[in-house]
């Protein structure tokens, strides 16, 4: 028997997948190239959301004008993160890199608390709702889904069709040899950090339409983003994209038939089982 609520849950899962895919995109790019996990990725998104809040709600900038500024702002944070924290630790043990970006996570949370206070803030923008039969689809989520898809394609085209993109791919394949062949690895890392940060900024512009911003919003997205990146294969953007939708569908459809929490339980069980069967992720890169 046709169940419209199942269809709605399925579509909601796809739309949630779009949000998660957008979150995973930048994180995977950075790991794929620089081989460092930005544990503080969700906190960078939080800074971008605050940027959007202040530009749009406090300084009354139009959304479309504020968005590029917020994207650039988080892009610059990405560059600064690389210059100040990552670059000195490039040859350090992975655990040290992880701890360092973990420290940045705590720093950004504390900084946001001091600068912006603990209040929840939102833009107060109401996106229209698309009504199809008895189903209602969130325009904000459709936008996030479309942007994630477009972002994925844009990053793919950039990496495959441009000289810089080719250099990025090359250095991600062999960090030792490429500098010997004339590639300026420092510059490539900076460009990658800028793009990774900008993708976090892009996610911020879309998430701020759906969520309140507060200094600890990263707790909502950080762990799940990291799990999706690992599930898809750290550094594998297509893997992250696929994993986002699998994860989101399990949460959404699972949550419809059982308690909501069971949806998350099944998603995490799927993650654990996958880690046993394919420890490097669903679509792992070959090292």
């Amino acid at each position: 028997m046709f169940d419209i609520y199942l269809l709605e849950a399925g579509i909601n899962g796809i739309l949630l997948g779009g949000v998660l895919a957008l979150l995973a995109l930048g994180c995977n790019l950075v790991f794929g190239v620089i081989d460092v996990v930005w544990i503080c990725y969700a906190e960078m998104i939080m800074m971008g959301m605050y940027g959007m809040f202040y530009l749009v709600s406090v300084y009354h900038w139009p959304f479309l004008l504020a968005a590029p500024v917020a994207i650039a702002l988080v892009g610059i944070i990405g560059v600064l993160l690389h210059l100040i924290v990552i670059a000195p630790l490039l040859n350090a043990a992975p655990i040290n890199q992880l701890l360092a970006t973990g420290g940045v996570l705590a720093f950004l949370q504390a900084l946001a608390t001091v600068l912006f206070g603990i209040d929840f803030r939102n833009l107060g923008i109401r996106m229209p709702v698309i009504e199809v039969s008895d189903m209602y689809l969130s325009y904000a989520r459709l936008l996030a889904f479309g942007t994630a898809l477009a972002g994925m394609i844009a990053v793919y085209l950039f990496l495959s069709r441009t000289y810089t993109g080719t250099a990025i791919r090359a250095i991600s394949q062999d960090r030792q040899i490429m500098p010997l062949m004339g590639v300026d690895s420092r510059k490539i890392y900076l460009i990658t950090s800028l793009i990774g940060g900008s993708l976090a900024g892009l996610a911020a512009c879309l998430l701020v339409l759906q969520y309140d911003v507060h200094p600890f919003i990263g707790l909502t997205f950080g762990p799940i983003t990291f799990m999706i990146c690992v599930l898809g294969g750290l550094g594998n953007m297509i893997g992250g994209f696929v994993a986002s939708f699998i994860f989101a569908e399990i949460i959404s459809v699972g949550g419809l038939y059982m308690d909501l929490e069971w949806g998350y339980v099944f998603a995490f069980v799927f993650f654990i089982v996958t880690m046993f069967v394919r420890p490097r992720g669903l679509l792992a890169r070959k090292s």
Partner: protein, 434 residues
């Protein structure tokens, strides 16, 4: 020469002692560790406002001469919205700061384990805020007292109102009134939901869905879809924030319709934030909580309390000049802190000779404040150690309020009613059943 030197030294020491003596007499103080969440999600969800309420009252008492010669030396600690941090801070305050007692605690998830830990130290703990029954239920704690009503009462209040108004407001028998219970899955939400279930069973309401969710869940659209399928007339919701904002946003976008929504404290109590999240959509939403001290009729209170309420309001606005609608959170903590400072502490000092946990415990058990004896309007009498809810103020109760055009009105219980509840959202609401 030596003797003269000794005499001089003795004289100097004597003078110093004489000078120091009054100072020593004035330095009698009770050291109180005040624990709330000043960072993390609970801070914005109301905890920081509770901290402000307690601080306003402590500062006021100190400014007006202290209690029975004792000044209050408050040491404020941040539980960071994490149960483990709350426990660690409580232990640090007891072991390192050597506090005489602890006061505060916003989150029930923090309260449940911290109460047990503080009891092990045989230190006195005065809970101003957290409401979950498991904090006290069947634990027979000797030194933990709660001025606030307990969670199950929240759930019972909203369902009692629905049962009473089912026919009049909805034109349905209680058994035909479809009710959905949704809650955050921590100690607080689970306990209030338990009260909802008990109340619904008692009133014969038809519970069509009962579901918990994590307060940090990034998505509640499945819950919205389930609610649409269950078609409740009324939603009973218990949450913090920002989960409430997320739910309301996704409910609106998901086309969820209902006739009434009743929140149960925390995120629903801070109207400014609720409105910031939902705009005019939150008009006619209801909330269960102790009454806001600014809504209590002054003539219903013991003499002097109305002036105290005014003082708290002025200090609140001074601390947060941007405040438009004063949050009930501040008043709750201020009143419950005042209850301790005015009823328990002086009695412990005068009758039981000190401020140790035993004296404070005995003094707390002696408290017998009739209705109208606290700023929140209710009285105070604490359950003895042998009772199921040992340490609970059995005269505390919540009320149901309704937000109508930016004003809060008490709509239940009928004895305190400021206006009758509007139990069908108007057509202008995006959530209204049309």
């Amino acid at each position: 020469m030596f003797r003269r030197g000794l005499a001089c030294l003795a004289g100097v020491l004597g003078l110093m002692a004489a000078l120091a003596f009054p100072a020593v007499a004035q330095e009698k103080k009770i050291k109180i560790g005040v624990v709330y969440d000043l960072t993390g999600p609970f801070a914005g969800g109301g905890s920081e406002l509770h901290n402000l309420g307690a601080k306003i009252m402590i500062d006021h008492i100190n400014a007006t001469g202290g209690i029975e010669g004792y000044k209050i030396d408050a040491i404020y600690a941040d539980a960071q919205s994490k149960p483990d941090v709350a426990i660690n801070e409580a232990v640090r305050l007891i072991e390192q700061e050597k506090v005489d007692m602890l006061l505060g605690f916003f989150s029930s998830a923090e309260c449940v384990p911290t109460a047990a830990r503080v009891e092990q130290f045989k230190k006195f703990m005065w809970i101003t805020t957290c409401i979950a029954s498991p904090v006290l239920e069947n634990r027979h704690l000797k030194y933990v007292f709660r001025a606030q009503p307990y969670g199950t009462q929240w759930g019972l209040a909203s369902t009692a109102m629905l049962t009473a108004y089912a026919k009049e407001a909805f034109g349905k028998e209680p058994k035909d009134l479809r009710v959905a219970i949704i809650h955050e899955d921590g100690a607080y939400g689970v306990d209030v939901a338990r009260g909802n279930s008990e109340g619904a069973a008692k009133g014969g309401l038809n519970v069509v869905l009962k579901e918990g969710y994590s307060v940090t869940a990034p998505d509640l659209s499945s819950l919205v879809t389930k609610l649409k399928r269950a078609r409740p007339d009324v939603i009973l919701h218990t949450g913090y924030n920002p989960d409430i904002s997320l739910f309301l946003r996704q409910a609106r976008e998901g086309g969820l319709r209902f006739q009434a929504l009743i929140g149960h404290g925390a995120g629903y109590t801070d109207y400014s934030k609720l409105k910031a999240a939902g705009g005019t959509d939150v008009n006619f939403f209801m909330d269960v909580d102790p009454i806001s001290i600014w809504e209590v009729k002054p003539d219903a209170l013991k003499p002097g309390l109305a002036e105290l309420t005014k003082m708290v309001g002025e200090a609140y606005k001074k601390a947060k000049p941007e405040t438009v609608i004063m949050s009930a959170h501040v008043g709750m903590a201020a009143s419950n802190t005042h209850l301790f400072l005015s009823q328990v502490l002086p009695r412990a000092i005068k009758t039981y000779g000190g401020i140790d946990a035993e004296a404070l415990r005995k003094a707390a058990l002696d408290v017998d404040v009739p209705e109208g004896g606290t700023m929140l309007g209710f009285g105070a009498k604490f359950e003895p150690e042998t009772a199921v809810m040992a340490g609970q103020n059995n005269r505390a109760y919540p009320v149901v309020i309704q937000y109508v055009d930016d004003k809060a009105y008490v709509v239940w219980p009928k004895a305190l009613q400021q206006r009758a509840p509007v139990l069908k959202l108007p057509d202008s609401s995006p959530y209204a059943v049309k």
